[in-house]
């Protein structure tokens, strides 16, 4: 194994999502008040990369498209054991939809070069589109498999991939290079030792801008994204909230009346 790339996305910490508000003028979410974390599934992707490296050698390179402020989050992945990180950061990347993002990540992968596997989390908790794995693979001209829950290797260097489908699983056999996006069932991300945190401090985070990647600016960012935001709404699902009071017996009687009125018995 020469090299394994793991894509990592900073996402707003769901513990603070209750505080999200909207800027009505720009129709964007005010997310700067919410601290970022590494997308939870991406830790499983990092673990997948590390365990392949532990068995077959090579290096694990983290790849992220994010503002420069994402560097501490990449350090977390380096502390887990990744060898180095590449951060794609440029104002012209801002506002990219999944296709434009995939184009930027594909350019990052080519810049890193010589990889056998690319791992991603199956979806991010904020956008939840789950579109980047397939789009990145298409733009790199490589096969991809999503919903990965198991990986094993044959003696000939082929990989047996188990993936989740409706009501079951399917198994595939593939040959690297491959792009794989993983579900949390695949593994348990390793515990970060204190020595890992120390070691991460001296590992390289290379920051690249579009001067390095040289992507046609008309294909990326807000302007280069085929999808446009036409509206944004914070949803609250409020209902009548009628509280049934009394002893358990009284509550059961009242519940019976409700269920009877609804007409299902």
């Amino acid at each position: 194994m020469k090299r394994i790339i793991v894509c990592v996305k900073p996402v707003p910490d769901p513990k603070h999502w209750g505080r999200v508000s909207m800027d009505p003028d720009t129709m964007t979410l005010r997310r700067e008040v919410i601290p970022s974390i590494v997308n939870p599934l991406d830790k499983h992707a990092i673990e997948a990369g590390l365990s392949v490296r532990d068995s077959f050698g090579g290096e694990v390179v983290l790849l992220s498209m994010a503002p420069p402020s994402a560097q501490p989050l990449l350090r977390e992945g380096l502390a887990m054991g990744a060898d180095r990180a590449v951060l794609l950061s440029d104002p012209v990347f801002a506002g990219s939809d999944t296709l434009a993002t995939s184009l930027i990540l594909a350019a990052g992968c080519r810049y890193i070069g010589d990889f056998d596997l690319i791992f991603l989390g199956n979806m991010s908790i904020d956008g939840s589109t789950a579109q980047v794995c397939s789009q990145l693979a298409e733009l790199l001209g490589l096969p991809n498999v999503m919903h990965v829950t198991g990986l094993s290797w044959t003696n000939e260097g082929k990989v047996i991939i188990t993936r989740k489908i409706e009501n079951g699983f399917s198994k595939l056999v593939g040959i690297p290079p491959l792009v794989l996006s993983v579900r949390k069932e695949l593994n348990k991300p390793r515990y970060v030792p204190f020595t890992g945190i120390l070691a991460a401090e001296s590992k390289e985070i290379r920051v690249l801008s579009n001067n390095d990647l040289k992507i046609d600016p008309s294909q990326i960012g807000l302007a280069g994204s085929p999808t446009k935001m036409a509206g944004l709404e914070i949803r609250r699902f409020e209902r009548k909230r009628e509280r049934l009071e009394g002893s358990p017996e009284e509550i059961v009687r009242k519940l019976m009346d409700k269920i009877y009125q609804i007409g299902v018995i």
């Binding site: 956008g127 096969p143 409706e166 036409a230 209902r239 358990p248 009877y260 609804i262």
Partner: protein, 337 residues
């Protein structure tokens, strides 16, 4: 196509082993509605020996079926499927292309969109046309707590994956429709990983999304033994059992019983949520229910925001006597009929 001319709306007919996924029929229902102001609905059906499915697609709203029959399409693989669909899009230039947000659709649609360089929105919960005939795609984000409306003004086709259960299939009736067999041209090699095994289990009991009553349980149920109370209550009410993520992780419930953003979207007459905290991921899957009853011992449980009827009490004090009461009521009904 929006100026004059007919709008061409495609729906991906998803099948595994000759069995059509019901989301495809739901999408045909929506496509028919979108086409009502002048448009044609086409079902795109790749597979092998699947021509028999065409009739059902037509009876559910397809004006025509583009059938791509080839042994190499017999089992879904992303490379041949995306090459096929990309080629068909370039040949026929549809305005809209809809797929189910299934394991297959979620993987395939983005690859096709990247191939033809167009926009794609994910896990849509609603679709409509604006005054200029452009597709407005309503997508949930942030666990469903935020919904965005997305459009794709300059690229075609306008592509979307749609949550199963979010749209309604039309009742089937005998309809006229054409079936065209398209020529399948695929390379002989480099078709990507090969499928060597598929294991799928038929889920037991009433499917969640068809049930009039859904009794759902969460982490608060606490044990497999207690989970039987959920099952008993559901069966007495002629309903189905639903779950949040933890009971599925614990093995009390099956993956197919999960309600919410990464599970099923349901809209039953009555939803009863027991021991469920009510995070947004779950709520977005059930908020369309006609009536919502929530039982939780924690007075601050988020689910109460989205409930019509609230019971703040330990479910173990409520559900067993409720089960007894319902049994009594059913017995009386039985004897008076």
């Amino acid at each position: 196509m929006e100026k004059g001319g007919q709008m061409e709306i495609w729906v991906f007919a998803e099948q595994r082993g000759g069995e059509l996924h019901k989301v495809s029929l739901e999408l045909l229902g929506k496509a028919k509605e979108l086409a009502s102001k002048g448009g044609r609905v086409t079902a795109v059906l790749p597979g092998h020996d699947v021509k028999a499915i065409s009739r059902s697609l037509i009876n559910h709203g397809a004006d025509r079926v583009l059938l791509a029959d080839d042994p190499r399409l017999g089992i879904y693989r992303i490379i041949p499927y995306s090459l096929l669909l990309g080629g068909m899009i370039q040949d026929h230039r549809p305005d809209i292309f809809l797929m189910g947000a299934t394991a297959m659709g979620v993987e395939l649609a983005p690859r096709v969109a990247a191939k033809v360089k167009t926009g794609l929105s994910a896990h849509c919960i609603d679709l409509s046309l604006d005054s200029q005939g452009r597709l407005l795609q309503v997508v949930p984000g942030w666990g469903g707590g935020v919904v965005a409306t997305v459009s794709c003004p300059e690229h075609r086709p306008q592509m979307a994956t749609v949550m199963p259960g979010a749209m309604k299939a039309l009742p089937p009736k005998e309809r006229e429709g054409e079936i065209f067999e398209v020529a399948v041209e695929l390379p002989d090699e480099n078709l990507g990983p090969e499928v060597i095994e598929i294991t799928q289990e038929k889920p037991q009991g009433l499917p969640l999304e068809k049930a009039e009553v859904v009794v759902a349980g969460g982490w608060g149920i606490g044990s497999r033994e207690n989970w039987q109370l959920i099952q008993e209550l559901a069966s007495l009410l002629g309903g189905a059992v639903g779950a949040t993520r933890p009971p599925v992780d614990e093995g009390w419930a099956l993956e197919g019983q999960m309600i919410g953003q990464s599970g099923k979207t349901i809209r039953p007459r009555l939803y009863i949520g027991i021991g469920i905290s009510g995070v947004m991921h779950h709520v977005v899957g059930m908020e369309g229910s006609d009536h919502i009853i929530a039982i939780n011992s924690d007075p601050n449980a988020e689910i109460f925001e989205t409930a019509d009827v609230i019971v703040v009490e330990d479910f173990k004090k409520i559900i067993p006597p409720l089960i007894r009461e319902i049994k009594n009521r059913l017995k009386k009904q039985g004897s008076s009929d």
